[in-house]
């Protein structure tokens, strides 16, 4: 048993932070929060605080990265040194390199990159405060920032994790559940088609548990999707759908 591990994760049907098993942490998204970026979003998701900025399409540096057929989408996930309990050394580490990569791959399928050959579309994700689930928060914020920049896209990409804690399948793990739980399954989807653009898992799940957690994560994504659309409507007006 790890130091600090709680004895139970669910007491009287409630999780340690008071949520039901299928309940998201409070999520608030605001679009267009930065002046200099072409598009931006700020997101508060439980104890997570995330900023995303989109620059582009713009000239690409270094030039040899240019693609004559499409824009190059580049995503950078970064954690502020003060975003976690023990100071994180600034700069990219192995974890953030991997998250940058899967974030890009989660978003690439929706961006119409072929419209802007020879350019770069850069998305910077900064985790200002972390409480687990930051890659999902980052992808969620990044796709709102892309939309805010006016980049043509098939759809927004919401992301949400499900997992297993104390034998229960739960939605949207917060830090204690993430640290001491049995499994974490982050998922991102393209809601219009229902297709999955990000899927990772660590921990231990049976086939049945996986299926249950996977479906729960997708339900969570759909709730996140509503918040994303709400944020854009709030900034730009317009009606439901």
């Amino acid at each position: 048993m790890k130091v600090g591990e709680p004895e139970e994760f669910i007491i009287d049907g409630k999780r340690l932070d008071g949520r039901r098993v299928d309940e998201l942490r409070p999520l608030k998204i605001e679009a267009g929060v930065l002046k200099r970026a072409d598009g931006s979003a700020y997101l508060e998701w439980g104890g997570n605080r995330v900023l995303a900025a989109c620059y582009g399409p713009r000239e690409i540096h270094p030039r040899h990265e240019a693609n004559p057929q499409r824009a190059v989408l580049r995503t950078y996930y970064s954690m502020a040194p003060f975003s976690v309990y023990e100071r994180k050394r600034p700069g990219p580490d192995r974890r953030s390199m991997e998250i940058s990569k899967v974030t890009r791959q989660a978003l690439e399928s929706v961006v119409f990159t072929h419209l802007y050959p020879m350019t770069a579309i850069d998305v910077y994700i900064e985790i200002l405060q972390a409480q687990a689930g930051t890659r999902c928060a980052g992808i969620t914020a990044a796709s709102v920032a892309l939309a805010d920049a006016g980049i043509p896209m098939k759809d927004l990409v919401p992301a949400c994790a499900a997992g297993k804690v104390g034998g229960h399948i739960v939605l949207d793990l917060f830090d204690i559940e993430d640290n001491y739980g049995e499994a974490d399954l982050p998922v991102a989807i393209v809601p219009r088609t229902g297709e999955v653009s990000l899927l990772q898992m660590d921990g231990n799940l049976t086939q049945e548990e996986f299926e249950q957690a996977f479906k729960l994560a997708i339900k969570g994504c759909m709730q996140v999707y509503e918040k994303q659309k709400e944020a854009l409507r709030k900034r730009y007006g317009g009606s439901e759908e």
Partner: protein
């Protein structure tokens, strides 16, 4: 640019073949390339393995060192997985610090090893809070012809099972020249199975040509019980939800197939 155009032509060719039920190297959609695993192939490493998956070759070395445990796990050994994509192994690999593909490979292999808890890390404690064994897994592809994830994970678990402790001296130093009989405590055998989606078709164990044109990739780690211990989707494309549920089910028996190639 040149590369892109060739890739497009090649992609059409590979997809056309798949449309008529064929793969570029003649395999069935759910067929692995020939698998071979040799262990104990390096005398300096505490454990070692050479895995061949078709023409893909990966050497894996396990080294053991002593050091301090993490403060939050004072009675546990430490696991570190590293990959090195050396330019010897492919014209597309470059020298320099690890790029994101290298890091992803190391982390996805690490995920299956770590999350399956196949190493009994508590048995690696020498003195609680002070001294523990550190397990280094070094993934070293020698010839890259696709699907490094499955080859490296298989090599990692083979090398771990092959590993023995070196002699620990009274003063806490390790005598690497004297190996003991004692094996590393390995209690499970995780393996990873990778599927690729190309033009709407799902194939297992993509070869290099398939990997270069794939839309999406899904790697799943299974423990001995067939439970899922790690997953990683790759590629810019997507999977449908039905495809994922189907792949997860089908991967299980393929994991069994891979595991059979491990020596004793």
């Amino acid at each position: 640019m040149k590369h892109e155009i060739i890739a497009d032509v090649k992609r059409d060719h590979i997809v056309n073949l798949l449309n008529s039920g064929k793969r570029i190297d003649g395999r069935a959609f759910d067929e692995y390339r020939e698998v071979s695993v040799e262990v104990g192939i390096n005398q300096r490493a505490e454990g070692s393995a050479l895995v061949k998956l078709g023409k893909t070759q990966v050497m894996v070395g396990v080294k053991l060192a002593v050091g301090e445990p993490f403060p939050d796990m004072p009675d546990s050994g430490v696991l570190t997985t590293n990959a090195e994509l050396i330019p010897l192994a492919s014209p597309s690999f470059e020298r320099g610090p690890p790029d994101e593909d290298t890091v992803e490979l190391a982390r996805v292999v690490d995920r299956a090893i770590r999350e399956s808890q196949c190493i009994d890390l508590e048995k690696l404690c020498i003195k609680e809070g002070e001294l523990v064994w550190i397990v280094f897994i070094d993934l070293h592809p020698l010839d890259y012809d696709g699907n490094l994830f499955d080859a490296c994970t298989l090599g990692a678990i083979a090398a771990l099972k092959n590993a023995v402790f070196p002699k620990l001296e009274e003063n806490g130093r390790v005598d690497y020249k004297t190996k003991t009989e004692e094996k590393l405590p390995i209690v499970d055998t995780p393996v990873e199975v990778t599927f690729a989606k190309i033009g709407g078709h799902i194939v297992i164990d993509p070869c290099l040509e398939e990997e270069e044109v794939l839309d999406a990739r899904l790697t799943i780690g299974y423990n001995e019980k067939g439970e899922i211990v790690a997953m990683q989707k790759g590629g810019s494309g997507t999977f449908t939800q039905e495809e994922i549920l189907d792949i997860v089910k089908r991967g299980r028996e393929k994991a069994e197939f891979l595991r059979k190639h491990l020596p004793g």
